[in-house]
Subunit: 209 residues, 2 copies
């Protein structure tokens, strides 16, 4: 059974256990998916309302994109779990001889890069979804404006959580070029993304008060 098909209660219970998956990466992907879904909900509550007719086409386009990102993030829950398998296997390899140690290190280095893939995608996708909330906040039905705030807070959390899962993996990767490239990309997206998320949240707060 896929993790994404588990009930919310079951997923949360397995998360809290010692089980190797889901871990922080899977939780981050789910929280990001919820954030994208909240953006979609706000679009759905805005579309068809006379008062917001002038934004109708733009909001429909934002909805199309939030649906795509939501689906991407939900898929990452299980993808992250699958990508953890090679790493888990690598840790189990023997290291009694010089050859075994060298082989283990080679396999481990490869597995670490695989384990990094989904967290990097979580950072990218959460950033994209935050940008969509930025585009949405001025065009959204005022009746649903608090949900733009909740959506952007979920995505801010997914963005930073994705980065934490990148960091824990690259801290053991010895390919300096790879580490530098990944670190630069994710650091930039997190710095920009949290800034935008905080601005969107402030707008929501201002509209609510």
């Amino acid at each position: 059974m896929k993790l994404v098909d588990k009930s919310c209660r079951e997923f949360t219970n397995v998360l809290s256990s010692k089980a190797a998956v889901p871990g922080g990466g899977g939780a981050a992907a789910l929280v990001g998916g919820l954030g994208a879904a909240l953006g979609g909900m706000v679009c759905n509550l805005t579309i068809g309302k006379k008062k917001y007719a002038q934004y109708e086409e733009e909001v429909k386009e934002i909805l199309r994109k939030t649906e795509e990102l939501q689906e991407d993030l939900l898929k990452m829950i299980d993808e992250d779990a699958e990508n953890f398998l090679p790493l888990s296997k690598a840790y189990g390899l023997p290291k009694n001889t010089e050859e075994e140690r060298a082989e283990k290190e080679r396999v481990l280095q490869e597995a670490l890069k695989i384990a990094c893939e989904v967290p990097i995608k979580i950072v990218r996708t959460s950033y994209e979804a935050i940008k969509l909330h930025e585009a949405l906040v001025d065009k959204a039905s005022k009746l649903a404006i608090s949900d733009v705030g909740v959506g952007v807070q979920c995505l801010r959390s997914a963005l930073i959580s994705g980065q934490l899962n990148v960091i824990i993996n690259i801290s053991m990767i010895k390919d300096d070029d790879y580490v530098k490239r990944v670190k630069e990309e994710t650091d930039t997206l997190v710095a920009e993304g949290t800034k935008i998320a905080d601005e969107v949240y402030k707008k929501v707060e201002a509209i609510l008060s």
Copy 2:
């Protein structure tokens, strides 16, 4: 079927729809539940490890509490949906005569307070769970330290999201004493809770680098 028993995929899909529930409150409760669960996971990965034997009893106690808060937050998903019903009913009442308008206003004011109940509890419970992460960060297995960071980010998001759902309801409540009391409590918990969450996150970052 309870919302908490829906699959992660189904819950996220219904969230993105126009359906009245789940909304931002239910999403916040789930994200809070995931945050508490991550704290529990870190406890479970720390307990029994020789290296952290000195903290064993404290970590077991933290686990007991995260499990309780996780369960509380998961229950709030459906409780929030139930508490939305009176409000939804109140909006539907007629307002043709002076009497009808007065009655509608009376029922609405009551329903708004009911709708506030779970969001207030989400703020309180997320705050409690953030405090548990604060107690855990220095006693947690270093192998799971990134998950303390993910947990605290989820709870930070749930805390602020709970507050947003308080604000949108109290903005229409005319009982000034109630509004003042609720606002003071939640504002204080959010200000303190985000501060603590950010400190815990910085500690995690420092340990990771």
